[in-house]
Amino acid sequence: MNQARNTASDASWQAGSAEPAIRIENVTKTFGKTYAVDDVSLDIYPGEFFSLLGPSGCGKTTLLRMLAGFETPSSGRILIDGKDVTQVAPYERPINMMFQSYALFPHMTVADNIAFGLKQEGMPRSERDKRVQEMMELVQIVPFAERKPHQLSGGQRQRVALARALAKHPRILLLDEPLGALDKKLREKTQFELVNIQERLGITFIIVTHDQEEAMTMSSRIALMRDGRVEQVDPPRRLYEFPISRYAANFIGSVNLFEGVVIEQQGDEVLLQCDEAGAVLRVRDSRKMASGMPLCLAVRPEKIRLLAPGEEGPNQLTGVIREIAYLGDVSIYHLELPGGKRVQFTQSNVQALAEQPLTWDQTVTISWRPDSCGALSE
């Protein structure tokens, strides 16, 4: 199963689905000597909620701007519904964009802002008014129709920007960090609204974010970017459970990494000599691996189980608890192995006051299943 994921991950979204809404083919964008986007290829399918995720400066905005038509790729092609639009002007693309700064026209009312795009396509007055009304209802800003942008709160402006971008019923909507300016509460609420709206209208959403949690909650698939390249493209769950590299594993959630070398393969399990842990570890992976090859085992803190005294398990390690962080729903423990390496694991706090809670300096034994961890070669 690990074997498949590198090559077929793109097509795996909706097997046998129609042709992609957007196809990005080997697109590169350079500014002077910097490669803002470096040989990116992606297929995005109709109806997807697709996220571009990555740290600051990795080229997310640049990629999005090339889709909208504000930047021309230095090389490569962009196809929308099979048609090459690489050289097509922004005003002729069936794409609309919601800007990070919202970019509401300051001299127009909310209603005029939303109507702007419809006017450009020459929609008759009555139909236009109806559509504007619909959009304002959709994002719940009807009472503010006659206000100017500066008379709105941040959250209201964001809704206007969304309504304006949606008004033309584009086939594809691009969103550049749409929730960046909102506080946490409003942000979470808006995330669900966005997903709802997207499902109701059936528009393909491509959203830029550097917030991994946001990407996880909303997306059908995530493209994780690194220095202008796409590191991994997968649905959130796959990205979390089966990162293909140390970078991907570290970017999303927390992870324990064990560096080692392959000893041998036993069926679909790989045995790994790990000096840091002072043990032989097992990981499920059916890829062919030569013995002696360096390999990294990645295991998420919540996959690690505490063994009862006398109990045996795979990937068994014993150590001393050095740190405890109580987060309410779960607690995070830092276990120090004899060699000094630290391992993080979590336990959910099932009981309000556990009878025998784990304490500092307690010696415990942990274990995890070979199929709950992953092998990273990069």
Binding site: A68, G69, F99, A103, Q120, H150
Partner: protein, 269 residues
């Protein structure tokens, strides 16, 4: 209330007196009955009526207003184009040089501008037959060359502060570049255009040196009339004229200020 230092207050008063004293005394003496400018002979508005009968002054005023209005309008168009090019054209070779060159007329001595334009007009007439002689047209052209620099500076700063994504958003919503300019960019930079227009108008109304160089026998602007008549002795009539100009200019400046202030406030929350 905080106690203000009396020293500071007197310095302030002195400063204002220094700035406005001459203008106020000029205004007061425009209501002087006596023909002698320095002797107060009672209140009268007769100089204002006399002004109305002075065809030379009225003609010059009308000419100045015409020149200033045409100059301001053309300078706003050219200055805006120049500002757009400087702000929007991206990076190109020699951009910095070009930017400095646009502002050169602001620091160049008027005498040099006037002289060089005079030479230009003369040789142009010899080569092409246009402009025929010197007068209203040449003064207007000369004023446009230096007013444009001021307009460019004013509009450029406004454009540079304008959020680029507003234009991109309009493009994205299907508006063509021309439409974007007229529907989005222009309304947003309008206060700067208004300020630029007023500035150009005032500069033109104010100019004596350059106009003297490029003017011909038929065209005498208001500053030229004032200047030549003052050389024969200050007459209360000129005081009256100056008072009218001061009042009009103050009103215009106040209106422009109010307009820009309101717009500014509306645009930043």
């Amino acid at each position: 209330m905080t106690r203000r230092s009396p020293l500071l207050l007197s310095v302030l008063l002195f400063g204002y007196a220094f700035l406005y004293g001459p203008i106020i005394s000029l205004m007061v003496y425009s209501f002087n009955e006596s023909r002698l400018v320095t002797v107060w002979g009672g209140f009268s508005t007769k100089w204002y009526f006399e002004l109305l009968d002075n065809d030379q002054i009225l003609g010059a005023a009308w000419l100045s207003i015409k020149i200033a209005a045409v100059n301001a309008s053309v300078a706003v168009v050219l200055g805006t184009l120049a500002a757009m090019a400087l702000v929007r054209y991206g990076r190109f070779r020699g951009r910095a040089t070009l930017e400095t060159m646009v502002t050169a007329p602001m620091v160049m001595p008027d005498v040099i501008i006037g002289l060089s334009l005079l030479l230009l007009f003369v040789s142009m007439e010899r080569l092409t037959g246009w402009p025929q002689g010197r007068g209203q047209t040449t003064i207007t052209l000369a004023h446009i060359t230096f007013s444009m620099a001021y307009v460019t500076v004013v509009v450029r700063s406004r454009l540079a502060h304008m959020d680029r994504s507003l234009e991109e958003a309009a493009l994205d919503l299907g508006a063509r570049p021309m439409k974007v300019f007229f529907a989005i960019t222009l309304p947003i930079i309008a206060p700067a255009l208004a300020a630029g227009w007023l500035l150009a108008f005032t500069l033109s109304m104010d100019d004596l040196v350059i106009a003297s160089f490029v003017s011909g026998p038929g065209a005498t602007t208001l500053p030229m009339v004032v200047y030549s008549s003052v050389r024969l002795g200050v007459s209360p009539e000129i005081n009256a004229l100056a008072t009218i100009i001061v009042v009009i200019v103050s009103l215009a400046v106040a209106a422009a200020g109010l307009l820009m202030y309101r717009q500014e406030k509306r645009q930043q929350d």
